[in-house]
């Protein structure tokens, strides 16, 4: 089972991201479960959502305390909320920011993990560019596809088109694919360095 936890703020589409990821997994014929942390959500408040993916029926429903994948949609949460709680040594980490880990003050922190599984990606900027609004969810999913290979970018794109239509779908898909490509590039540089 793959357990993904997404952190962000209300209004950034954190819940939608988890849902889209679950739909993408469904498209690939897998079982998936997505749910929010059910806080008193309001715009700007910290929000958490969860997604489990497995090849068999998923029965448990507790919040994800030991995520395999951590996606942080808003870097201002990094030193406010314990976003990293439970992330295993082999975990994946994707942070929405145009800065690097060192600039974020996480230079030492990322040493504990497998370096090729941790990346930053400027998802809000990509969203602004392709969608016209800084909604980082879709590009982060695209980035996750690129980072881990655990979900295909085509499934992510199909999930986006399942939920959205017209220009909104186009923009989100474009942003997701752009993030995917960017992440693949970064990984190449990382592993060749």
């Amino acid at each position: 089972m793959l357990e993904v936890r997404i952190h962000g703020r209300g209004g950034q589409g954190v819940v939608t991201s988890a849902e889209l990821l679950s739909v993408a997994a469904f498209i690939e014929g897998r079982h998936a479960q997505a749910f929010p942390s059910f806080g008193s959500e309001r715009t700007g408040a910290p929000v958490v959502s969860f997604c489990r993916i497995d090849d068999r029926e998923i029965r448990t429903r507790e919040p994800i305390s030991r995520p395999d994948v951590l996606i942080v949609q808003d870097p201002t949460l990094l030193h406010q909320v314990d976003v990293f709680s439970g992330l295993g040594d082999d975990g994946y980490l994707l942070i929405n920011t145009s800065r690097g880990f060192d600039e974020l003050g996480l230079g030492e922190f990322v040493q504990r993990f497998r370096r090729e599984r941790l990346l930053t990606v400027p998802a809000s900027e990509l969203a602004r560019e392709h969608l016209g609004r800084p909604l980082p969810g879709a590009p982060l999913l695209g980035g996750f596809a690129g980072l881990s290979g655990l979900i295909s970018i085509d499934s992510v794109a199909e999930a986006i088109r399942d939920k959205f239509s017209g220009a909104v779908a186009d923009g989100n898909v474009a942003a997701a694919r752009a993030a995917f490509d960017l992440v693949r590039e970064e990984l190449k540089e990382l592993t060749s360095a």
């Binding site: 849902e19 679950s22 059910f38 408040a45 507790e62 305390s65 439970g86």
Partner: protein, 414 residues
């Protein structure tokens, strides 16, 4: 059709397939997406003919349902928590009048303190209302139970509430198989009322009944619920034949046959319990689970039989009978009378507190469980509050004091 979708949306789609003729809707978290979905289905004409009425309160929702059902319309509404309480007078009225209304209850805690998250206190508070109470473990079962509910209700002329855990199921995206209209139509014939307001055959419904006949009327309500104990498994069987999957029924055992310890629970927590049981079994513990799918009527014989060989019964309940302890446990104890098994009550998940595998493991690994336990209770916090009330007369409101104690509201992941 296999879909990945939100529980509420799946329920709305399925209820629509049941061809309700009148839907009374008043919004309350966490049921809102259900009535929103249905409103769109009616408005776009996908569900037709159907009158969708935005009412002014939950009391009105059940009252409108009573009028509609008595006039022969298949009637549906949904609520939770405070809303369920607000309509209590009408709940008893509906069951007393024998009206086959179907209602979704998106289980949520009851205030004060106000709390929008899941537990079973709402449904449990109405266990004596004369409504049949069905509990869904998954979103698949939630939508399946609605199809079964209309049939059970209309056959017996008893109202049915389908309980699904608020947020945990209503707001979860998961894989579901939506039935087709043809399947539902074949399973659910048009509503043929046993009593109806009709100028061609006028009847008086709802007269005052005095001491000379009230007992008999109430006995009939009880007798019909007892009939439900036979009808519910029958309908579940028919459902399996028609739709190709198991859903509903009275109880379901999981790895229970030789289990020394049996965990009894209702609703979505069974999933987490089963994963925990698999782990504990691998470690050598003799343990199983019993899912109560129908809480009212209480499946006494089925529970007794299921727990016949257990040495330790752990009833995990998401509700609390203040002043005494467990609610489901009391019902279980009736079933295990004469058994050697010890029945332990574990109050868990109140107000939406997550029930984790780690906590369950810890709990079930304990040798000496007390009679009543509150899972994951912060004893220091309550002790501080009790001390505070002892020291000062004007000690202030409990909840607000404790929030202050906890500091800013936790915004962490768990």
């Amino acid at each position: 059709m296999l879909r990945q979708m939100e529980g509420s949306a799946a329920v709305a789609e399925t209820v629509a397939l049941c061809r309700p003729e009148v839907i009374a809707a008043y919004p309350i978290s966490p049921q809102t997406h259900i009535v929103e979905g249905l409103s769109a289905l009616v408005k776009t004409g996908r569900l037709s003919p159907c009158e969708f009425i935005n009412v002014e309160s939950e009391f009105a929702a059940m009252s409108v349902s009573i009028g509609a059902s008595a006039t022969g319309a298949r009637t549906y509404t949904a609520t939770a928590s405070q809303g369920l309480l607000y309509m209590v007078e009408a709940l008893y009225n509906a069951s007393g009048l024998g009206l086959p209304i179907v209602m979704t209850v998106a289980n949520r805690a009851i205030g004060a303190p106000i709390n929008i998250w899941n537990d079973h206190s709402d449904a449990m508070s109405q266990r004596d209302s004369g409504w049949i109470q069905l509990f869904a473990e998954t979103n698949q079962e939630a939508l399946d139970l609605h199809v079964q509910a209309f049939r059970i209700a209309e056959e017996l002329s008893v109202p049915v509430m389908v309980c699904m855990d608020g947020f945990i199921l209503t707001h979860a995206y998961e894989r579901v198989e939506l039935p087709t209209q043809e399947q539902v139509d074949a399973f659910l014939p048009p509503y043929e009322p046993r009593q109806v307001l009709d100028p061609d055959e006028p009847v008086t419904i709802g007269a005052m009944v005095g001491p000379e006949a009230f007992t008999e009327v109430k006995y009939l309500a009880h007798a019909k619920q007892m009939q439900a104990l036979d009808l519910i498994p029958q309908v579940a069987e028919d459902f399996t034949r028609a739709f190709g999957r198991e859903s509903g029924g009275l109880v379901r055992g999981y790895r229970i046959e030789d289990a020394e310890t049996v965990v009894v629970a209702l609703g979505s927590v069974l999933g987490t319990i089963e994963d925990t049981i698999d782990e504990l079994r691998d470690e050598g513990m003799s343990i199983g689970a019993l899912s109560i799918k129908t809480f009212r009527p209480w499946p006494l014989d089925e529970v007794r039989e299921a727990l016949a060989n257990a040495r330790r019964v752990v009833v995990l309940e998401k509700a609390l009978a203040v002043g005494i302890g467990g609610i489901v446990s009391l019902n279980v104890r009736i079933a295990t009378q004469g058994h050697p098994a010890h029945v332990h009550t574990v109050i868990a998940g109140l107000g939406g507190r997550p029930i984790t595998m780690a906590s369950l493991r810890g709990l079930l690994s304990e040798d000496d469980l007390p009679l009543v336990t509150f899972l994951d209770l912060d004893r220091d916090l309550v002790q501080r509050e009790l001390d505070r009330t002892r020291e000062r007369r004007r000690s202030g409101p409990h909840a607000e004091n404790m929030l202050r104690d906890l500091g800013t509201v936790a915004s962490g992941p768990v």
